[in-house]
């Protein structure tokens, strides 16, 4: 079991994986790296059954039933045997910051509202794929408790089997073995300057559309859905920057996580992603939408490649492996990492975009599920984050922000409408 050391159940603990190390250092009173995944079923949720499903499903995911602890040099995860986590009625301003000491020290929350089951997890535990495995398994167990026979498969794991050791591994360490370490991109990107909303405010705007419709539109530009939506977001950001008439223009960049499981076989339920930054530099001239799509397509073809990604994770892992860095006390590491993130990493992109891709379910589970949603959570700085997920013929684009302005969302969806895509908007702003 890579990244964990076991003597007995009592002494079990897990090292934080390479990505997870960063998230706790960024923790503020008004910010936690929390993401939210939700599934909308076709019948209203029964909370008492959902609680039973949580109690059955969660032990199958030992790295999600944990508490965050501090060591002298690093943080670590320790199995949490406290009561909970308890299901609760959903709230309007979800993705609230998650204190490590609140909620009986659990780093996940489970909500229900009408037909929706929502899972919120701290990014230190795992990425969207890991969280989605937990949500799918939890939903399958819930449906089984209601008397529906649901088989295992895809993200639905067998709750009667112990977890596979590979599910708990830090897969970065297995694959960070490139011979060179390419430098990180450091150029400052255009930053959205929004008006901050009061604490406890979380705005979401969901765009629901047909997968077929979007796919046809993307095919018109000879690109994939991810490339098309990336291009639309870049286009929206470029338009916004242009409208602001800045003193000095900056490149517009999107931070996009790439699921490394596609390139490096691993069953890990922990973090296994790396970031790529598709960008457009308006200082080189005005880009038409077609030029943006071509640029994004070429970027993705070139950089989302096993060799490049291996080099990228090797660069990241080298910092953690450096003997001098390892012996620096945790509070100093926190100080340096927090400042580096605030001054460099956060300024490296204008917005975030993640595509969870197509959700596949066992055939006998499909009739009970209507759609999925994914939210990247409260952004670290005043900007907007975009997350995409699709199931059957429903593609959902979820924007999440803590700012008053909605220019980026408006420009984004207006472009989709211009391209002939019918978009239905849901939001917690005016409903």
């Amino acid at each position: 079991m890579s990244g964990s050391h076991s003597k007995s159940a009592k002494d079990l603990w897990y090292k934080l994986d390479l990505s997870a190390i960063v998230y706790p250092t960024l923790q503020r009173r008004d910010f936690s790296s929390v993401y939210r995944l939700s599934v909308v079923l076709k019948e209203p949720i029964r909370p008492e059954i959902l609680q039973k499903a949580v109690d059955i499903a969660l032990p199958r995911f030992p790295t999600y039933k944990v508490a965050m602890r501090k060591g002298l040099f690093w943080r670590f995860l320790e199995p949490n045997h406290r009561p909970g986590p308890f299901v609760q009625e959903d709230i309007r301003n979800f993705c609230l910051p998650m204190s490590f000491k609140a909620n009986n020290r659990y780093l996940i929350r489970i909500y229900y509202h009408n037909c929706r089951i929502a899972l919120e997890a701290h990014h230190s535990l795992g990425d969207g794929t890991g969280g989605m495995c937990l949500l799918h398994t939890l939903t399958a167990v819930y449906l089984r408790l209601l008397g529906h026979p649901i088989s295992n498969g895809y993200f639905v794991l067998d709750v009667d089997q112990p977890p596979h050791p590979e599910e708990l591994e830090d897969a970065y360490m297995r694959y960070s073995n490139a011979k060179v370490r390419p430098p990180r991109p450091m150029e400052k990107a255009y930053r959205i300057r929004g008006t901050a909303e009061p604490f406890h405010t979380f705005h979401v705007i969901d765009g629901i559309m047909s997968v077929k419709n979007v796919m046809e539109t993307a095919a018109r530009y000879k690109i994939t859905i991810t490339e098309y939506l990336n291009s639309v977001l870049l286009y929206a950001l470029l338009q916004k920057q242009k409208k602001e008439r800045p003193f000095r223009e900056r490149p517009v960049k999107i931070a996009m996580p790439v699921n490394l499981r596609r390139f490096f076989p691993s069953r890990t339920l922990r973090n296994f992603i790396t970031m790529v930054y598709p960008s457009i530099d308006p200082r080189l001239g005005d880009y038409s939408f077609e030029e943006i799509t071509r640029h994004v397509h070429n970027y993705m073809q070139y950089y989302i490649d096993e060799k490049f990604l291996r080099g990228d994770i090797t660069t990241n892992a080298a910092t953690q492996r450096h003997p001098l860095i390892r012996i620096v006390p945790l509070f100093l590491k926190d100080f340096v990492v927090r400042n580096f993130y605030r001054r460099v990493q956060d300024r490296n992109s204008s917005a975030g975009l993640t595509n969870m891709g197509v959700m596949k379910l066992p055939e006998d589970m499909k009739p009970f599920v209507h759609r999925f949603d994914i939210y990247m959570g409260i952004p670290f700085s005043l900007r907007t984050n975009c997350a995409i997920i699709s199931y059957e013929d429903i593609l959902t684009v979820n924007f999440a922000s803590c700012i008053r302005e909605t220019d980026v969302e408006q420009l984004f969806f207006s472009r989709l409408v211009e391209d002939g895509i019918q978009v239905t908007i849901e939001s917690n702003r005016f409903s």
């Binding site: 009625e89 959903d90 709230i91 309007r92 301003n93 979800f94 609230l96 910051p97 204190s99 000491k101 609140a102 909620n103 509202h113 009408n114 929706r116 300057r193 406890h200 705005h203 979401v204 705007i205 765009g207 800045p246 003193f247 909605t406 969302e409 408006q410 969806f413 207006s414 409408v417 211009e418 019918q422 978009v423 239905t424 908007i425 849901e426 939001s427 917690n428 702003r429 005016f430 409903s431």
Partner: protein, 234 residues
């Protein structure tokens, strides 16, 4: 279900305005219809407050043990003077100052401010009892402490209730600094029996006044504020 006339997107039934462009939803055919339920819950959540009881117990034990051991030492070994009283008082004062950290869920900023002021005044009074005269306490320490806490309270009040913007905070800071220096100089002069006028504090006050006027101008002129923000953004 309506469409936004501005953005062209279809809007979910419960929306009363387009969330993208804020255009109100008016469907001439559905003017009388009852608004439908939102897919989002109405209730807003709050963060669970973490009780830092461990820190409170630890701080209380450490400060209590320090006070007690000093008192016992003063009583049994080093009996020459009442040297343990200032130490015990300092421990008590530190405990009160750390109250917001230990009981952040109970102690409000107003309560913390009053507690801090009371504790500092009580400590100064205790020190004055150990000196031959209490004149310095009543004529100098007490007025300066009250004036400082009054201005500090005013500053926090403005920050909490008026604006938390960087420029506004700078304005409060310079305003309070100017007034504090003037107050301190006047009180020192009164204590020393000198003429009631300001000298060095007048320079500080003038500098602060100029800065305040400049900040007020920036704050009140939206165009100027935007230019400063644009030119100085980092």
């Amino acid at each position: 279900m309506s469409y936004c006339v501005n953005c062209g997107v279809k809007l979910e039934q419960s929306l009363t305005a387009c969330p993208l462009c804020l255009t109100p939803v008016i469907n001439p055919k559905e003017l009388q219809t009852v608004p439908s339920a939102s897919p989002f819950p109405a209730a807003k959540g709050e963060i669970e407050t973490v009780k830092k009881r461990d820190l409170a117990i630890w701080m209380s034990l450490v400060l209590g043990a320090t006070s007690l051991s000093c008192f016992v030492l003063n009583l049994t070994v080093y009996q020459g003077s009442r040297w343990s009283y200032p130490v015990i008082g300092a421990c008590g004062l530190l405990w009160v100052l750390l109250l917001p950290l230990m009981f952040s869920d109970i102690v409000t900023w107003k309560a913390a401010l009053i507690c801090d002021a009371t504790a500092i005044i009580a400590y100064q009074y205790m020190l004055s009892l150990l000196t031959p005269t209490q004149y310095w306490f009543f004529r100098l320490a007490l007025p300066i402490t009250l004036w400082t806490f009054f201005l500090w309270g005013l500053c926090v009040l403005l920050y909490k209730k008026v604006s938390r913007a960087l420029l506004a905070t700078a304005l409060y800071f310079f305003m309070v600094t100017g007034l504090l220096c003037v107050g301190i100089e006047l009180l020192i002069r009164q204590y020393a029996g000198q003429t009631f006028l300001i000298t060095w504090s007048a320079i500080v006050f003038s500098v602060c006044f100029v800065i305040c006027v400049a900040l007020l101008a920036i704050l009140s002129l939206a165009g100027l504020r935007n230019t400063v923000r644009k030119r100085l953004h980092f």
